[in-house]
Amino acid sequence: MARLFWRDLTVAMRRSTDILTPLVFFVIVVSLFPLGLGPEPAVLRTIAPGVIWVAALLATMLSLNRLFANDHADGTLEQMALAPYPLALLALTKIAAHWTLTGLPLVLISPLLAVQMHLPESAIGTLVLSLLLGTPILSLLGAVGAALTLGLRGGGVLVSLLVLPLYTPILIFGAGSVAGVIAGIDTGAHFSLLGAFLALALTFAPWAAAAALRVSLD
């Protein structure tokens, strides 16, 4: 499984645009808001948590088709499904690779965007932490959507329709925690809920993704 994880990372490294595209997309979307709304720091500060979180959602979604599509196209996925490992474990490995390639870079670059959006310094740590907890959930839930739409016409548009409604609780609590820190509210509950969602998604999403893969590979 570790080998599969490294293989996914290596394949992505060879085509580094795959990693950079969601990241650049994330930065551009966030940078568009000051241009569209005007550079008023007070305005930017109030909308920053939501804007950064929504951009993270969209960037994750943009990269979802990469999760299984390439391996599906050249038949590798079918070979993997025949391997003597549980398919759920395989899905989890691929999800972990996906998060390392898209989620983690988003988390790492988010302080820069926070400064750009005039977030107070006290909120930057919360933003990073909330993204660190939240982006794995996005990868996990997204994997289910990606597996369900594998090989369908118009799968790319469909996956957004399936996955975005499921992302909303993460968005609410993720952005809510950052907004809470700015407003001076205790955000322990937000983090507890994000952690609970992560535990829940970690337990069930690999199985759901594996079941969806089986349906798609039939």
Binding site: L141, V144, L148, L152, L161, L200, V215
Partner: protein
């Protein structure tokens, strides 16, 4: 037991049940509307406009209830591979989506005089809107897969993942203290609603349930015909009819 799960047997059984469920729907609907619109007293706070509740609240209940049923039927179809459960689940989705839309539309009509706005980003409204999107996604996924059995299994997985949202919707009024009024019927023991108001509300809820059953049976019959159009019994039946 297997006899009841065979599409052929179910087709004729549903045919016999539909007139009865439709009749019960009509009676309950008339009684509920009469009691709700003419007999129940005006609300001391909201006057006459609260009467939209008799449509709004049962529609919202049904929207969640049908989603849970749909996910449950999907699970049954996934585990035991029962064709009829697949057909039931896919028949549920458009009905559930229409109830969700009805709940949203009546809620918006009710919100305008009460809160002064057609739409408020309140926890329950937003989560009900997300439920609507879940139904749309379910139907879109099912429509984009050509093989009905594959479509049913994929949609069932999606419904099961989405069912996590139902408790979030249900408890949203308690978790977030927002504009929407808290639940008043389900408080165990002492409902904070007058009997003359709760009677029509429950009648309407039963009417909607029977309506759902009748329409689901109709839709299931259609889908059975479409799926089984290559089989002998459908050909025989179509031939025996003039």
């Amino acid at each position: 037991m297997h006899k009841y799960a065979s599409p052929k047997f179910f087709y004729s059984l549903a045919g016999q049940l539909i007139p009865w469920t439709a009749a019960v729907t009509a009676v309950l609907l008339l009684a509920g509307l009469y009691l709700g619109l003419f007999v129940a007293p005006a609300d001391y706070q909201q006057g006459e406009s609260y009467r939209i509740m008799f449509i709004h609240v049962p529609a919202a209940w049904m929207s969640m209830f049908i989603y849970v049923l749909m996910a449950g039927a999907g699970a049954v179809a996934l585990v035991w591979n029962i064709k009829l459960a697949e057909i039931f689940a896919s028949s549920c989705a458009p009905i559930g989506a229409s109830f969700t839309f009805l709940a949203l539309a009546t809620g918006s009509l009710w919100g305008k005089p009460m809160w002064g706005a057609w739409w408020v980003w309140d926890a329950r409204l937003t989560s009900e809107l997300i439920l609507f999107f879940l139904y749309i996604g379910y139907m879109a996924l099912q429509a984009s897969i050509d093989d009905p059995r594959r479509a049913a299994r994929a949609a069932a997985i999606l419904a099961l993942v989405g069912v996590v949202n139902i408790p979030v919707i249900h408890f949203s009024v308690e978790w977030w203290n927002t504009l929407h009024q808290p639940a008043s019927v389900s408080k165990v023991g002492t409902p904070s609603i007058h009997p003359s108001m709760i009677a029509p509300l429950l009648l309407m809820a039963f009417a909607f349930t029977f309506y759902f059953v009748a329409v689901a049976l109709l839709r299931m019959r259609n889908e059975i015909l479409e799926r089984e159009r290559h089989t002998g019994w459908v050909a025989d039946m179509l031939e025996s009819k003039p």
